[in-house]
């Protein structure tokens, strides 16, 4: 087990533990803090997968943007901290069956997929390649993304308007 593996398991443990806090906490604000660490841990995993641009975007947009939005959403609610989250154990039997089924499917998927394993020596910056591909091969998706963002902006502003 080398340094790379240690760091990987560190970030994986951080992600899973924070996701556990996020799911099992009865306080929305604690859940939001759990989400903060879970998203940051995923960013660390992206770095270990040699996806440096994705990792930075993850921190910039998910940790810096979406989490703030979520916290504002929590703070907007009248009940705030005392909001009762329905995370009680209901329908235990059917839930177990569904979860077991999903587990089997995921496990088979993990086992059968031919994973493209990459050696550590192949790490290099990806931003340049992403930029070239975005401006040449993926030009139409790139411009459509701006239309999508425009739609999101107008829709969000329309819904959030009071009258």
């Amino acid at each position: 087990m080398n340094f790379y593996d240690i760091v990987f398991y560190l970030f994986a443990a951080l992600t899973i533990a924070s996701a556990g806090v996020l799911v099992f906490s009865r306080n929305v604000v604690y859940s939001a803090v759990g989400l903060l660490f879970a998203l940051s841990g995923v960013a660390g995993l992206y770095v270990l997968l040699a996806a440096d641009f994705v990792a930075i975007v993850q921190i910039l947009i998910y940790v810096g943007g979406i989490l703030v939005l979520l916290l504002f959403g929590v703070m907007l609610s009248q009940k705030g901290m005392r909001v009762d989250i329905g995370t009680g154990a209901k329908q235990l039997g059917p839930a177990m069956i569904v979860v077991a089924g999903v587990l089997v499917v995921l496990f088979r998927m993990i086992m059968k997929t031919p994973w493209a394993l990459q050696s550590v020596s192949e790490f290099e910056p990806t931003t340049n390649k992403i930029g070239v591909l975005m401006m040449t091969d993926y030009l139409i998706p790139f411009e459509i993304a701006s239309v999508l963002l425009l739609g999101a902006l107008v829709g969000a502003a329309f819904i959030a308007r009071k009258d």
Partner: protein
């Protein structure tokens, strides 16, 4: 590349260790005299009333939403900025189209007044007019 991120990891580890060690040291050194008064909120001598939780203005949410959209735009600008010198005018025009489409959105929310800060309505307190108040005050000061 991984080397550069290792620097960030070192920062993370040192930051976490700094906080952890300092809290542990202060826990070891501190004197413990718990008292309920120490847990109350300091309010300049006033007794605190109600909870610290207040409902936030919805304007914060709208501004955060608009911020998020333009943050995604910024994320798209970075890879473009890295290569646009080598790709030339075409890449520049492409990005201008991208930015222009989003500027339409900005113009929309601006024109519709979503960027205006919604101030709470200023309702003057009619029960005490400033004139009578000042009269009372002068009476009070005269006596």
């Amino acid at each position: 590349m991984l080397q550069n991120f290792a620097h960030i990891l070192v920062f993370l580890i040192f930051g976490a260790a700094f906080v952890g060690i300092n809290i542990t040291i202060s826990r070891l050194l501190q004197a413990r005299n718990p008292h309920p008064v120490k847990l109350s909120t300091y309010e300049c001598g006033e007794l605190p009333e109600g909870e610290s939780w207040i409902q936030f203005n919805i304007r914060f949410y709208v501004i955060a939403l608009i911020f998020l959209i333009f943050e995604v735009e910024i994320a798209f600008l970075f890879p473009w900025a890295v290569v646009f010198k080598s790709l030339g005018t075409f890449a520049f025009v492409e990005m201008m189209v991208f930015v222009f489409i989003l500027i339409i959105g900005l113009a929309y929310v601006w024109g519709k007044g979503d960027l205006e800060w919604e101030k709470p309505a200023n309702v003057p307190d009619t029960s005490v007019s400033p004139l009578t108040e000042s009269k009372e005050l002068t009476q009070l000061m005269a006596s």
